[in-house]
Each structure stands twice: as C-alpha cells, then as structure tokens.
Amino acid sequence: MTTDPDPGPGQAGPTPGGTSGFTPLIEMRGVNKHFGDLHVLQDIELTVGRGEVVVVIGPSGSGKSTLCRAINRLEPIEAGTILIDGEPLPAEGKGLARLRAEVGMVFQSFNLFAHKTVLQNVSLAQIKVRGRPKAEADAKSRTLLDRVGLASQADKYPAQLSGGQQQRVAIARALAMDPKALLFDEPTSALDPEMINEVLDVMRRLAHEGMTMVVVTHEMGFARASANRVVFMADGRIVEDRAPEDFFSAPESERARDFLSKILKH
C-alpha cells in the first residue's frame, strides 16, 4: 500500500543529485495519532527540505489537515518525533512557543484577530514575541502589507475586508515573524472563486522566492505549477510522495487515480 518515496530528482533523499544541497527543515518520523477510534495519522514519514514546496492533497478525512497542524503541535501527536530544523518539538510551554514562532501558519478560516486592526494584526506578535520596538514592527508590517497589495487597508478591522484580503493579511502576519517555514491549511477553501487567485498569487510568489512551504490544498493548478513534491494522503497514510508531473500524469496507486479522476473531471 504505502509506496515509499523512491528518491527521484529533488526528492527526500539526504543527498539528491541536484544543484542545491538538500537540508531537511521539517522531519516527521513514525508519527501516529488517533481521534477516538479513528487512526488519523498512521506511521507518517515526511521530510521537507529547506526551500521546498510540498503540497499535501487527498480526500477529506484523509488526515492532511491534521498532518499540517501537527507540524507546529496545534495537534499533539501520540507517537513519533517531529523535528524543526533539527530540533525536536517540545511538549508545551515556552520552548514550544519559541519554536512555533519559527513556523508560520495560515488557516482556512483566516483567524485574524477580530479586535485588532489589520496593522495591529501583523505587528502584534512581532512586538510581543520577537520584542521588536513598535515603530520598527509597524514599518515592517506596512512593507509586508504592501507586498500582498493591502497597504491601503492597514487601519481597517478584519471584518471590513473580503475573504481574499483577510487571507493575504494572514499571510503577511505569518511572514512578519521571519519564519523558517510556512504551513498552509487549506488557505483557499473558504474563499469565493474570484478571490482564490489573489491568494494563490501571493503563495506562488513566496514559493518562487524560496520559502519553505507545506500546503494542504485542493488547488491542483498551484500544485502543478509551484510544488516540488506532491504528497497524496488517504486514510491517515501517505500513499504517494512524488514530483507533481509524475503524480498527475501517472499516479501509482489506485486511491490516487480514483481521487484524481474525481477532481480533474470538470
């Protein structure tokens, strides 16, 4: 069933025959988790290299969101280890908070702080977690808001923005911490169709600039164009882990063929 990723070009081997040296940034080793009787993560082995963009796809309930949330321990795991930049993820407390600051996260439902303005949303953690002076943090926030095309919205409250705008603010907020990696948990699933592209544009640019990204998404176009690897999950297992062209043109497993036939038809 589980096809171990045979290290193709740019794959999860320690020394792939590429031009860029492969250094693992996120490593999951033998990760297991249950939700009650449901074995939602089964023996997950996943390595994400520095600068790599890994897209996680799969049918709903396959555990892909849980996998993404486990990386910064929003979901605690029962067995296995997760390493961020070689450091094991601590259980709770200050150590975990410190490591979380290095891994940005973008949520399906944006989760902007409803009682703060857009600018405050982006600056808050810079000031309180990174200890930056307010003026410096605000300046950085404005630069980032400009990068996502929202400089003019800085003083509005999240509820005054469209979904697409909120999600771009959320990306700016994550970037403001200068994270080593970004996790995207279905970042476009709650958006109206015409707003999906403005978010994907920002993500494509980040991928292009070399940001390490783990993206749970149903956007196959993004996976084809920007991903280094596609991880296909079903029933809590990683079924395939391959380059996007290989995966989309010739999926190895029955599950993946079935899944792709359902979503690529229309």
Binding site: N72, L74, E92, G93, K94, A97, R98, L99, R100, A101, E102, V103, G104, M105, F107, S109, F110, N111, L112, F113, A114, H115, L124, A125, K128, V129, Y157, A159, A170, R173, A174, M177
Partner: protein, 214 residues
C-alpha cells in the same frame, strides 16, 4: 423624610460603608475571577483542577456560611484580621467564582481559531489569553458580570451581621431610637438602589463602548 434627615449621619456612614465594601470586594473578585477563569482553560492540569475546585466549593455554599468560616474559622489558625478585611475576603472569594464562570462562558464565545492563530505565532498561553482571547471575551461578558456585581452589592449586606458598618445594619440603630420601621427600610432600599442603578449605568456604558470597535 424625618427618618432620613434625623439620622443622616448614620445613613451616610452606612452608605459609605456599603460602597467601600462593594468597591474593594468588586476589584478583588474581578482580579481573582479572571485569574481562576484562566486556570480553568489552561493547558496545565493542576491549575484546571484547582480552578474547578475553587468554583465548585465557593459557588455551591451559602455566603453566610462562608462568612462564619472566615470570621470564626480563620482566628483558630491564629489569623486575626479586622472584621472589615474578613468581610472583603469572604465577599471577594465568593463572587470570584461567579465572575470566573461568566468569564469562562465569554472565553468560549471566542472562536478557537483566534487562540490557535496566536499560539501559531509563538505567543505563550499567558499572551494568547491576555492579548487575544480575553479582550474579545470581555465584550460578551459585560452584561453577566454586571449582574454579578449587582448581586455583590446586595450580598454585602450580610457583612452587617458581622460587625461591619454598612447600609442595612443601620436599621438597628435607627430602630432603637424609635423611628418607623417601614420608613427606616424604605430609605435603606433607596440607598441600595442608588448603588445598584449606578452599577447598571456603568455597565450599560461599558457595553456600548466595547460594542463599537467591532
């Protein structure tokens, strides 16, 4: 009216006594209540257990009993404080249990995603609560906390039976002087109304203030 004018200074002392008792206990119960509410939603199990025990014990026993325990019990352990301090302790602790539960219900109205976003940015539990969750919870708890504060103002009358100068207790002095019992109580009731209606007004104002920035 004669009942009031003749005994103005007695009433006034009682009124101030109740006001002071209310103010100090209110501050204490609000601080304690928010703290215990944070305990009850914290990821640390011993804190959660402590918070739950605190609320269960204080919310489910009569306030008068608590007064007896504090006033008669604590001196047994060589803790002797002025009656006034005992009264504040009893009222503050008792009310904190109700403040805690109101706060907790407010915390539960804040979507979990807010806390998750804060934590994913590297905020500690304290920062997540203090900077993100509680400020949003306050909005939905203004009205229930207002009710708790009004109850506190009225509960402070019990302190009168424990040698603390407060409004209700003034009836004994005034009654001994032979004034009409009915009018004695009418003026006491007016005193309480002044305090409780003022509390209502403050909380109405707060509610409107906090609502606009949404």
């Amino acid at each position: 009216m004669k009942t009031l004018t003749d005994n103005w200074s007695t009433y006034w002392d009682g009124f101030l006594g109740t006001l002071l008792l209310f103010a100090v206990s209110a501050v204490m119960s609000l601080v304690l209540g928010v703290l215990i509410a944070s305990f009850r939603v914290s990821p640390v199990k011993p804190l959660r257990v402590f918070g739950t025990a605190w609320v269960t014990l204080l919310r489910n026993t009569p306030l008068t009993l608590l007064f007896f325990i504090v006033v008669l019990g604590l001196p047994r352990f060589n803790i002797t404080l002025p009656f006034y301090t005992f009264a504040v302790l009893a009222l503050g602790c008792y009310t904190s249990a109700f403040v805690c539960e109101a706060m907790r219900s407010g915390v539960n109205t804040v979507p979990v995603g807010q806390g998750e976003a804060a934590r994913s940015l590297g905020m500690t539990f304290g920062q997540t609560m203090g900077l993100v969750v509680l400020p949003q919870a306050y909005r939905s708890v203004v009205a229930p906390i207002g009710s708790v504060m009004i109850a506190l103002a009225k509960n402070s009358a019990i302190a009168g039976s424990f040698s603390v100068t407060e409004l209700l207790g003034t009836y004994r002095t005034i009654n001994e002087l032979g004034y009409s019992i009915i009018w004695t109580f009418v003026w006491i009731a007016v005193g309480y109304l002044i305090i409780t209606l003022a509390i209502s007004a403050v909380f109405n104002l707060l509610e409107r203030r906090l609502a606009v920035s949404r």
